[in-house]
């Protein structure tokens, strides 16, 4: 290779980076639509450019690879080879490989990553040999499978026991096992000759040396439990030595026990290790003998012969010996996948940039223009603004008092009109000042909030690659559509919803979408569409995740819930479809028939729900069987200030977040009826349960037996309940001050706030309150029914899932 001019290399790297980005973008689209000629044409250009430039630079590998890639793309776009998802996957691998080579250049000015395997693969595709080859490979692996697995005796390893297997350090592990075998054999010999040996002390010394040696290698390997065992062993020998020195009778039985215990650490290799010591006819404890799998030697041999530690997918060894899996992947040969995975992190960022292209005003550029401020400082500022809002309401209150005073002076004190005029003028000016203050403070609050805002693109832009990774190796095709990525929301909230969103997307891909074949059968477009949409709705941001997959069947959920004993049949019959759908968010619920790699263990949706509710948000599921599922997250724009309805119960003030308030009513005692122990009212033809806050919080109310009530209808998830209060005080902006955990948990309160006159006012957690109220009612109802149903609910928490 010719001497490379460093500056030229930099130019090349920069330019190649751009082309590679373009390629990735197009390839990801192509993955959803492999036969699209236009896309193939689009990819052709950057490949060609890279080829030309690399040839000029004398970069042999990039040139060769891009040349092959160009040839293949040419065949594809001319229709001489038909494109398929497998081929697109290979194209992506080739792109990643070129990216790695370019990265090599930046690191060390030379190309290092090998390309031969991929070249061969590309060639095979061009010759149309790919399918048959893969089929053959699969056939081969299957025979290996069959041989290796022939009699798979299931040995359940003792659960608490640490056992050591190695996936990565195969070679090192083999050496380790070899040494272990030798030393154990050596120790067995020592044990045998112990009884006849003239110098027993010396024999024990030899053993000690051997074990110390083993101990140092166990330590090197990082096997701490094993090293500990060796330590105990050494102690035992030292004790034995002492006995020998005192001329006492010494039994060497403990040696066998220790050998047995060491072997237990290596259930896969027990055989080999035993062979070493067996020759000396050492009797092993029975439980150890039982642990040794008969068929394992073949596996071990097969392992030893395996000489491709880096490039081939090695069988994964775990507790059960049945896990020798050579996965025949229909989509991609596992061997070629590895470099791509490795390159993932390096090129991830590039992927992101590409995705910002459609909306040049968001993402990267915003970040670049931004000022880096310690988030803590903004939090402090936000807090101060919060206090300002409190002060503002204090001023409002003062203004009201001033007006009352003015009235008082006029009517009761009989001040003469001249003085009155002064006071009136002052009141007026005070009012003006307060209006101005409130305008400024509003703007300030908005401004500070905006500082904390980031476009959600920062989050969304990571998902195209996520979808791609999730669908790789499956028979599903999913394209991602993103809308409203420039919607802004609080940085803290972005952080908090990142995990739930990943989970929801993963759920959609794993459970929502059908396979291509299934979709074709159902007359749906073969590629599923996952729509991620974000938009503002008053003080909230709404994020919708919509898939056009198989939808959720309420009947199936019903069956599942019954099976799990979460609810009784009657309860389930009474539930609406929406309520049934919400059941999937209960802990321990999962309808997936099969647990996949990533989801289906039933620990996901309840966590998602909890996380969203922690943000004062709501989660809503809509689904049409066979058509789509839409999950709607509604989250307040900020966590610090909410608008709320102030209510009074007895002497206590409460705030209800306005987001939860549906309407307020005034009702009469005669409107209330009792159904199954719950008080309900009829609200426009619907039965709505009502709960008295005074009873829930056990505080004296004004007119408990009066026949007029104020009811606040609140929206708790998908059900509406009414809260009976003594007085409605009006709407206010309140600054949330968090409560300590032990006060907040299961209390039905989500925080506190300080109102204008300095009083502390608790903020209701409507969801929790509804849960508490419902559970109390259920409990009471059950008592009434003399426990017809065996306790399925406890009084305080969620219904207990059957274990």
């Amino acid at each position: 290779m010719i001497e490379l001019d460093p500056s030229l290399i930099n130019d090349f790297v920069a330019e190649a980076g751009e082309h590679l980005e373009e390629m990735e973008a197009t390839l990801l689209r192509l993955a959803g639509d492999p036969a699209n000629r236009e896309l193939l044409n689009t990819i052709f250009r950057p490949v060609h450019t890279i080829k030309g430039a690399s040839q000029f630079m004398g970069l042999a590998r990039i040139a060769a690879l891009s040349h092959k890639l160009e040839d293949l793309l040419d065949l594809l776009r001319q229709g001489k080879r038909s494109s398929s998802p497998d081929i697109v996957e290979t194209l992506i691998l080739a792109r990643d490989r070129i990216a790695m080579l370019v990265a090599d250049l930046t690191h060390s000015q030379t190309e290092e990553t090998p390309v031969d395997d991929l070249m061969a693969k590309l060639e095979r595709i061009m010759d149309g040999r790919e399918e048959t080859e893969e089929a053959m490979e699969i056939a081969e692996t299957e025979t290996i499978d069959a041989e290796a697995l022939e009699p798979p005796p299931v040995i359940p390893a003792t659960p608490e026991m640490e056992t050591y297997e190695e996936e990565y350090d195969k070679e090192l592990f083999t050496i380790f096992i070899q040494q272990l075998q030798e030393k154990l054999a050596f120790l067995s010999v020592q044990v045998e000759r112990f009884s006849t040996a003239p110098d027993k002390f010396e024999v024990l010394e030899q053993c000690l040396d051997g074990i110390k040696n083993l101990s140092s290698s166990a330590n090197y390997m990082g096997y701490q439990a094993l090293a500990l065992l060796y330590e105990q062993w050494c102690d035992a020998i030292l004790a034995a030595q002492q006995s020998v020195a005192l001329d006492q009778e010494v039994s060497m039985d403990f040696m066998e026990t220790y050998i047995g215990r060491v072997i237990q650490f290596f259930p896969q290799h027990g055989d080999r290790l035993l062979q070493g010591s067996e020759s000396t006819a050492v009797q092993l404890p029975i439980e150890v003998a039982a642990l040794v799998p008969a068929a394992d030697s073949s596996v071990a041999e097969w392992l030893e012969n395996e000489v491709l530690p880096q490039t081939s997918k090695l069988p994964v060894f775990s507790e059960e010996p049945t896990v020798v899996q050579v996965q025949p992947k229909p989509a991609v040969d596992g061997r070629y996948q590895e470099p791509a995975t490795g390159a993932g992190p390096v090129w991830e960022t590039e992927g992101e940039h590409q995705k910002t292209e459609p909306s040049p005003d968001t993402g990267e550029r915003i970040v670049k223009k931004s000022v880096r401020v310690d988030a803590h400082k903004i939090d402090v500022l936000m807090n101060q603004v919060g206090e300002l809002i409190v002060d503002r309401s204090y001023f409002f209150q003062l203004f009201n008092e001033m007006r009352n005073l003015q009235q008082h002076l006029k009517v009761n004190a009989g001040l003469d009109p001249k003085d009155m005029k002064l006071i009136r003028a002052f009141t007026y000016r005070l009012g003006e000042a307060i209006v101005s203050l409130s305008r400024t403070s509003n703007e300030l609050q908005e401004g500070v909030m905006k500082v904390r805002m980031l476009p959600i693109a920062q989050l969304f832009n990571r998902y195209p690659r996520l979808i791609h990774d999730l669908t790789r190796g499956t028979t599903k095709q999913v394209q991602l559509e993103i809308r409203g990525e420039d919607t802004e929301l609080d940085r803290m909230i972005i952080e908090e919803i990142s995990d739930p969103l990943i989970h929801l997307i993963r759920n959609s891909v794993d459970h929502g979408f059908e396979t291509v074949a299934e979709r074709k059968r159902l007359n749906k477009p073969p590629t599923g569409t996952l729509l991620l949409e974000a938009y503002h709705e008053s003080n909230h941001i709404v994020i919708e995740i919509t898939d056009d997959g198989r939808g959720m069947n309420p009947e199936l959920i019903k069956v599942k819930a019954l099976e799990k004993g979460l609810f009784s049949r009657e309860e389930l019959e009474r539930m609406s479809d929406r309520e049934l759908l919400r059941l999937i968010m209960m802990p321990g619920f999962s309808t997936a028939a099969e647990v996949t790699n990533t989801s289906g263990r039933g620990v996901g949706m309840d966590v998602v729900k909890k996380n969203i509710e922690k943000l004062n948000g709501t989660i809503d599921i809509e689904s049409t069987v066979g058509f789509q599922t839409r999950i709607r997250l509604k989250i307040p724009l900020t966590l610090a200030i909410i608008s709320a309805l102030m209510v009074r119960v007895g002497d206590n003030l409460f705030t209800v977040p306005l987001a939860n308030v549906e309407e307020t009513l005034r009702i009469f005692a005669k409107d209330i009826t009792t159904v199954e122990g719950t008080e309900v009212i009829h609200l426009r033809g619907k039965t709505t349960p009502i709960f008295r806050l005074s009873i829930l919080f056990d505080i004296p109310a004004d007119q408990l037996d009066s026949d007029k009530f104020f009811v606040v209808i609140v929206n708790a998830g998908l059900r509406k309940i009414g809260l009976v209060v003594d007085e409605l005080l009006g709407q206010e902006e309140v600054v949330i001050k968090p409560l300590v955990d032990y006060l907040q948990e299961k209390s039905g309160l989500s925080g506190a706030t300080i109102i204008g006159d300095g009083r502390v006012c608790l903020i209701l957690d409507v969801y929790e309150l509804a849960n508490i109220a419902m559970n109390r009612q259920i409990a009471r109802y059950q008592e009434l029914n003399l426990g017809r149903r065996k306790a399925g609910n406890d009084k305080t928490g969620y219904p207990r899932p059957a274990s």
Binding site: A103, D104, H107, S108, T110, E112, E167, Y168, D169, E171, L172, I175, F176, Q179, S216, S217, N219, Y220, M221, G222, Q310, E338, T341, G342, G344, P345, V346, E348, K368, K369, S370, V371, R372, D374, A375, H376, D379, Q458, L459, R462, Y463, R465, L466, D469, L470, R491, I494, E495, S498, D499, I502, H503, R506, N597, T598
Partner: protein, 352 residues
């Protein structure tokens, strides 16, 4: 006089054996006890001669360097200094360092004559330091290629950059830092910078492999690189890394090719820019570098952590810092990831 350090030279080229032996024996404290022409022979000689240190070539017939290291470490552990011209092969440098060689040096080349003195002194120093290594604490790094599916949230989640983890170590560092980062969550709201004793020549190849095996994104620290969350920037002890705020008000790295106490420079600069969000971490090493930097971090109310001496390959570096009382926490190596994560979480909670 103290007993001479017994060295075994393993190299397939007779010339190199001779050259290296002469180089080393020019120091009165070192004695060459033998040589071997390949790994297998080397292994036998180790068992027979019990050298204190061996120098090992990588590219050899019969049994190559990496395999030899594996055998030595299991069967007859002895400190190894690798002398190889194969430094651009990431697989080899990475494997060797992962398996716990004391250092990986490029073979001295006579072509650049003014460097030969430095190279010679470096080699002698390394061999002497290798002889005093705490062999108990040399362990291989257990690795598994992290499964992208398991760590999806880690890769695609949003995390902010709140902290800077500045890691300083000299000799024996690559192995320890590798182990640390393979179990440290990349979800932490932090970026990391490692300055460690590693030849700049082998650094890029090493970092590339490093990147593949840990969930963090690992990069060579480059001048002007903007510091990002979840990224670990690695630099050689022969360069100095400091932080700077660029014209866009972003924090970026500044690299200069001098090496006067680079750990002090790193820690001090981290303290100045990140203030109480700077976390300094000292791992195994030789020298008294880093102590002053630690003092600066403490002054700016950052946190300083040191690896427990008992678990160090070389305790010297940390001893100095502890003696000067600039260390907040002294932590066992295997508890480092938990401690770091807990620190970031707890301080974050206090600030809310």
């Amino acid at each position: 006089m103290v007993e001479k350090i017994k060295v075994l030279v393993v190299d397939d080229a007779a010339f190199m054996v001779k050259a290296v032996s002469e180089l080393l024996e020019s120091d009165p404290g070192i004695k060459i006890v033998g040589n071997a022409r390949n790994g297998l022979e080397g292994l036998e000689k180790i068992k027979a001669l019990h050298p204190d240190v061996i120098t090992l070539d990588m590219d050899m017939p019969v049994m190559d360097g990496v395999t030899t290291i594996r055998h030595i470490m299991i069967e007859a552990p002895v400190p190894i200094v690798v002398l190889s011209s194969l430094f651009s092969d990431g697989n080899i440098t990475f494997e060797a360092l992962r398996l716990g060689v004391v250092d990986f040096l490029p073979k001295p080349s006579g072509a650049i004559s003014r460097d030969i003195y430095r190279a010679k002194q470096q080699l002698i120093d390394r061999v002497k330091l290798a002889a005093v290594v705490n062999l108990q604490n040399i362990r291989r790094v257990r690795l598994s290629r992290w499964d992208s599916r398991d760590l999806l949230a880690e890769r695609y989640g949003f995390q902010s950059l709140d902290y800077l983890l500045a890691v300083g170590t000299t000799l024996g560092g690559p192995n320890t830092s590798l182990r640390l980062f393979s179990s440290l969550s990349p979800k932490l709201p932090a970026a990391a910078v490692i300055v460690q004793e590693i030849s700049p020549k082998i650094l890029p190849a090493f970092v590339q492999k490093f990147d593949e095996y840990v969930p963090w994104k690992v990069e060579v620290a480059r001048d002007g690189a903007i510091v990002e969350q979840g990224v670990c920037y690695v630099s050689s002890y022969e360069n100095t890394v400091t932080f700077q705020v660029n014209s866009n008000r972003e924090i970026c790295l500044q690299i200069s090719e001098t090496s006067d106490k680079p750990l002090n420079a790193l820690f001090a600069s981290a303290a100045d820019i990140f203030e109480r969000h700077a976390i300094g971490l000292l791992l195994t090493g030789i020298g008294d570098d880093g102590t002053e930097g630690f003092a600066r971090i403490k002054k700016k109310s950052g946190v300083t952590i040191a690896q427990e001496i008992e678990t160090c390959v070389y305790p010297n570096l940390i001893q100095c810092a502890i003696e000067r009382q600039v260390v907040d926490f002294v932590v066992d190596e295997d508890r480092l990831p938990i401690t770091i994560a807990a620190l970031m979480e707890s301080t974050a909670r206090i600030e809310v």
